[in-house]
Point group: none
Chain length 218, copies 4
DNA sequence: CATGAATGAGCATTCATTCAT
DNA sequence: GATGAATGAATGCTCATTCAT
């Protein structure tokens, strides 16, 4: 959980991609996130990347394949830390309190999201229009994360730190709060003057008490 | 707050619109929400509406104007109940408890959102790509609602029902939780088997305790 | 058989086609027959027709549809005189001799082919690459004509004017000779100095004696 | 005439061609004959041949040169037996009867055509669109064959076996009949149930009697 | 020799928009 | 007010060809 994916992050832009390919990817990410997938033309991407239009199609058979090449790794990478084999073990030891766990995960995934903001933006915006994306997303997030998270919720419910409601409700609330913060922070009002530490802390406390229920004592 | 906008709703589809115009609007809403604004062609809308392509442009100078015609009233209508002159008065009387207010508003706005789901979907999806929309949105939601809501938050904070944190944080958390639920419910997993009443209640309790802070006693 | 299809011919270029549509058709015929279907670009056709490229696609959904619009009527029109109800009757009366029949049909169909040379050229050249065309051709020529022709062959065989070989062999030989002449005349060596009357007569005599067999007496 | 071109045939695929070159040629022949020259892409040929795209252009400067490399030898090879120095001699001795000559030549050239069907198909289909091909063809077939054939026709006309009509008419009729058969047999209705021996015999008799004219006596 | 990444012109087709009827 | 033919720029994509490795 602590381990940042400093290696994984480089997978997208690093791993065995030619210089031109990287430029294409980068340009596509920029344009897609700014104007949306459908409103971005391949010629525009080519121009921005400084390559011929044909070059794009040598690497990605279709425009959609280019989209998937951008967006697929982001899903995998987002999920990765949740399926580390020793997650549970580490957790039991390190995070006796749900609060500690929450802080760790929020910090870790927030860093990831911030670093991958444009890509995540693309993913979020395009999911409704591409069934394959939706499937991919549900398979990874919906299954991988849900599974792990359920155990965690059970764990903290047994300890009395989380109210007795279904795990999926807990997950929804936690994610809503976290993403709600990130979306407001980085997408809706990025130009506002944010006190990140304070807001993060507030969000954590909100979740914590929200999930602690009436018997909140700390 | 109780007052349903049975009149307002009809504004979109009703007020002085010819039959063809209604059909165009309806077809555009369907297509935009299914495939996105940029990926929808005017010819497709025309076909679906059973009108000639030219007819669309007789009523809406550009495709974008058509988008705005769809999306603008939804913003206005969503905000409407918050600016009813007697909101505050009604509120003081009817909702002594923050919980009651929350229930009322969630129920009311949820019904609105469900009824206008496709239009809201369009709004949410297109906002990032159209500065005018973003402005419109910030102006209405960001100012109207923020303003009113701040007073409300003050009100309940004075009563000790809400923890002492900035109003904008409260607003963010409440909206995150509500929209998080609605998005999960109607956009991400609409096909799942939801117990709406239970989930709504849980969401309200989550917000309530999350905002009550440590001194949660009920 | 004598009746020329002065009306039918006009069907292609006449019947309810807008001016632009006619120009498109004419330009496409010219280009297709000169450079082949695959080697002709729609932009070239548009330029030659003096219309915008989009206009072509308003009338013909695809380039292939344009090809079919050109080539289909030619098949129908070529076959038409063979399925005139009164063909047989007329024939019995007018053409006691196979020679007379041959002369009449060759003359009639030759005129047709000459008048439709570019279109026929397109048809002949594209048939091998378009299964639909092949089917259409076999259905019309292969069935309609074959059927009628078989009866004719029987008729003249009964009269002892044609040797006793299968009708399909007769048909093949007659068509080979006729088309062989026309192809040599108009496609392979159009620039040579042809004595059309003499060549036609020789071709007819060739077929006649070839089909009369050993007992040729005239 | 009897001499099969077992050496010549190998010219195309044999003589000093690298393995890759042969594969390229073979793949090109297959694709060209199936889809036509213009509709076949070099990348497709490369893929089918299992070579890199660049390799094609190492051997053939342009796509058209590849076409010519395929199609030129077929012309030469088709003509070859007609220009064997001893053709005339052999002929005089072996084929007293025009019928014998006809049988020999039809059989021989038919075998050749069948063996080279795809290549011949390409030649026939592309001739109209490539002036160089047309020239090449006229030069070889039109001159070589015409020249030789004229003498032959004279020869048999002198013997009274062929009617007194211009040699070019004779040639046209003979070739029309032969090619008419082959085209029907192998291109138009290859899937039909053909009695090759009978049809060949009928075709020969047709030509024979057709050319014998009224004084047909055998 | 062979490769395959790179090119940019060209392709069929679609687009939002206009305008005469 | 409504039509739909017409437009030409733009789109995603393919092409034959080149060239550094």
């Amino acid at each position: 959980m602590i381990n940042p994916e400093f290696k994984m992050d480089d997978l997208i832009d690093g791993e065995e991609l030619t210089d031109k390919q990287k430029k294409i990817l980068l340009s596509a990410i920029e344009s897609f996130s700014e104007k949306g997938f459908a409103a971005t033309s391949t010629s525009e991407i080519a121009k921005k990347a400084g390559v011929a239009e044909g070059t794009i199609f040598r690497h990605y058979k279709t425009k959609k394949e280019l989209l998937l090449a951008i967006v697929t790794p982001v899903i995998a990478k987002f999920v990765a830390p949740f399926i580390l084999k020793d997650l549970q073990k580490v957790m039991d030891q390190d995070f006796e309190q749900f609060e500690d766990f929450l802080k760790a995960i929020l910090e870790n995934r927030r860093d990831f999201l911030i670093k991958n903001l444009p890509t995540v933006k693309i993913l979020v915006q395009e999911i409704p229009f591409h069934p394959e994306l939706k499937e991919l997303f549900q398979e990874h997030i919906g299954l991988r994360i849900y599974e792990r998270f359920t155990k965690l919720v059970d764990h903290y419910q047994a300890k009395g730190q989380i109210i007795e409601i279904p795990a999926y409700s807990v997950i929804r609330m936690v994610l809503s709060s976290i993403f709600g913060y990130l979306i407001a922070r980085y997408m809706i009002l990025p130009e506002a003057d944010w006190d990140d530490d304070a807001e993060t802390e507030r969000t954590i406390q909100f979740i914590l008490h929200g999930l602690a229920g009436p018997n909140s004592k700390n």
